[in-house]
């Protein structure tokens, strides 16, 4: 149904997307607190 390669790329894409989102929130947090 879903190939292993696609599965790994899919997981990496989602994890990378959320990590960037957390990074942006972290920057907002830093900017506001200063």
């Amino acid at each position: 149904m879903i190939g292993k390669g696609k599965m790994i790329r899919g997981v990496l894409t989602e994890v990378a997307f959320v990590s960037i989102f957390i990074g942006v929130i972290w920057i907002i947090n830093l900017l506001v607190i200063r």
Partner: protein
């Protein structure tokens, strides 16, 4: 007029499939039984052995008294089966809880089970830190299975795809078809969840080892926390919840898993199929990024004004973590319940209430209004304003992207607005009941939002000593919030209509 067997055709079809779902879920009790045997927790083995027998007997009785061929499977059957099986399962799955002796009453046990099924995460169990491994695995399994859906699980085991499968699937608050066949769709949902279960448990297990947990303990903590995070549940094996771990990396990992868990299964499937652009184009993700960004910004300003947390790391670990946990309807907490009321101020509590009500994505494990509906209503308002401002003869079609481009018509806006109004009504009644019993308005609103959105954060209202009426209302609110009203309304209508028909026939 005589009552014939044909009058019970609807009930027979409902009984058959409800019995089938109960037997599948009862089969899950084998996992805590095996775990308890390996940990020599004999009391727990006995509790679960009694419970599995009761569940299988009731499931079989329902299947024997029912039939899957008595009538054509209609929409109402699918909706009623989902709503009815959730209620019955709450009662049956509460038996091992109650027998464990960790709950004051059977009502408390039902509360904990419904909290698990609906991925809420509020707890009535006492002495949580000393629960057996078997019962702990059951609590977290309930929340993991509840996130994906009990009906979804049962449909996964269908030998052949029945005509009614899609109707039951929709009845559980899921509406997206990943594949043309419902059986394959439910299997895809489980594959996605199980792949993440493996990755998430492994990552948290390794992290647990680094923060000083023993290998076996670290594995179970990782497994339990992942199950809760992915299903946006909020249960944790320890009473201090995430505060127990005192680990920034553990918190970051859980944020990643609960945010991904709050995404639509349709989105996961599209991304896994190689359609990576979907993650940026999807209306739910756009809606989530906007609302999460705004609420985070406002909360940080509010907490900074009160000088609650001295530095950016503390602010992120306490404030931002809880905000994202609330917005994704997870309910993991890194502070004690009363700190919301005593330290965060009314503005902080208000922002959390908004975030909890908005919630995660449709067809995901999350609760709340859902980003999809917020996005549709927002776009609907914009479209309405544009229509008013543009020349009368100009006809423009407005669209939104949700797996594919879809036309923003009045029916879509109306349906989204209807569900949002139902959620607000549920939240308002919950707040009113809290105020009636003497809790302050912010506390009542906070807890009502947490219950309605299936979040699980508590300000200290939910305790075993709270009034029974509040417990019953909270159970109903969790149930309605999770199944998104329609199925439950259909069940109520069916029961009232059936009773009325039967009474009329008896009178004649």
């Amino acid at each position: 007029m005589k009552i014939s067997i044909r009058d019970f055709d609807d009930i027979r079809i409902i009984n058959y499939y409800t019995g089938y779902i109960i037997i599948v879920i009862a089969g899950l009790m084998l996992i805590p039984i095996i775990t308890s045997i390996s940990f020599k927790e004999w009391n727990t083995v006995v509790d679960f052995s009694i419970s599995i027998n009761i569940s299988i007997i009731i499931g079989l009785l329902l299947m024997i008294t029912g039939s899957n061929r008595s009538k054509k499977f209609e929409w109402k059957h699918g909706l009623i089966i989902s709503a009815f099986s959730w209620l019955l399962l709450m009662l049956l799955c509460a038996v091992p809880y109650y027998l464990s002796g960790h709950l004051k009453s059977f009502l408390d046990a039902c509360f904990d089970v419904m909290s698990g099924f609906t991925t809420t995460g509020l707890v009535m169990a006492q002495d949580l830190d000393h629960l057996s491994v078997g019962l702990n695995i059951w609590r977290h399994m309930l929340t993991f299975v509840g996130g994906q859906g009990m009906v979804v699980l049962a449909l996964t085991f269908l030998v052949s795809d029945t005509a009614g499968a899609y109707k039951m699937y929709v009845g559980e608050g899921k509406d997206i078809e990943l594949l043309p066949n419902v059986k394959h769709t439910t299997r895809a949902i489980w594959i996605i969840s199980l792949v993440y279960l493996f990755i998430g448990t492994f990552a948290l297990w390794i992290n647990g080892l680094f923060i000083g947990l023993k290998p076996v303990s670290s594995f179970f903590h990782g497994l339990f926390i992942f199950m809760s995070a992915w299903s946006t549940g909020g249960f944790a094996p320890m009473s201090q919840n995430m505060l127990y771990y005192h680990s920034f990396s553990y918190e970051i990992l859980t944020i990643i898993f609960f945010v991904i868990g709050s995404f639509n299964f349709g989105l996961h499937y599209a991304v896994w199929q190689g359609n990576r652009k979907e993650i940026f184009k999807n209306i739910e993700i756009q809606s989530f990024l906007v609302t999460a960004g705004i609420t985070t910004f406002l909360l940080i300003i509010g907490l900074k004004k009160l000088n609650v947390y001295p530095n950016s790391i503390a602010l992120f670990r306490k404030g931002v973590y809880i905000l994202l946990s609330a917005h994704t309807t997870t309910g993991f907490g890194t502070i004690y319940a009363r700190q919301f009321a005593l330290e965060w101020g009314d503005f902080g509590v208000f922002i959390l209430v908004i975030a909890m009500l908005i919630g995660g994505s449709a067809c995901s494990t999350a609760g709340g209004f859902k980003g999809l509906r917020v996005g549709i209503v927002f776009k609907g308002i914009i479209a309405e304003i544009r229509k008013t401002l543009s020349p009368e003869r100009k006809v423009k079609v407005y669209k939104y992207h949700y797996i594919k481009d879809q036309v923003l018509n009045d029916a879509a806006v109306k349906s989204a607005a209807f569900i949002i109004i139902c959620y607000i009504a549920l939240f308002t009644v919950g707040t009113a009941i809290g105020c009636y019993y003497g809790y302050s308005l912010p506390s009542s609103a906070f807890e009502a939002a947490s219950i309605t959105g299936n979040v699980g954060l508590s300000i200290g209202v939910t305790t075993p000593s709270m009034p029974s009426l509040m417990k019953v209302y909270y159970i109903i609110a969790m149930y309605l919030g999770r199944l998104e009203f329609i199925s439950v309304f259909t069940l109520i209508g069916f029961v009232i209509g059936g009773c009325r028909k039967l009474c009329l026939k008896c009178v004649r």
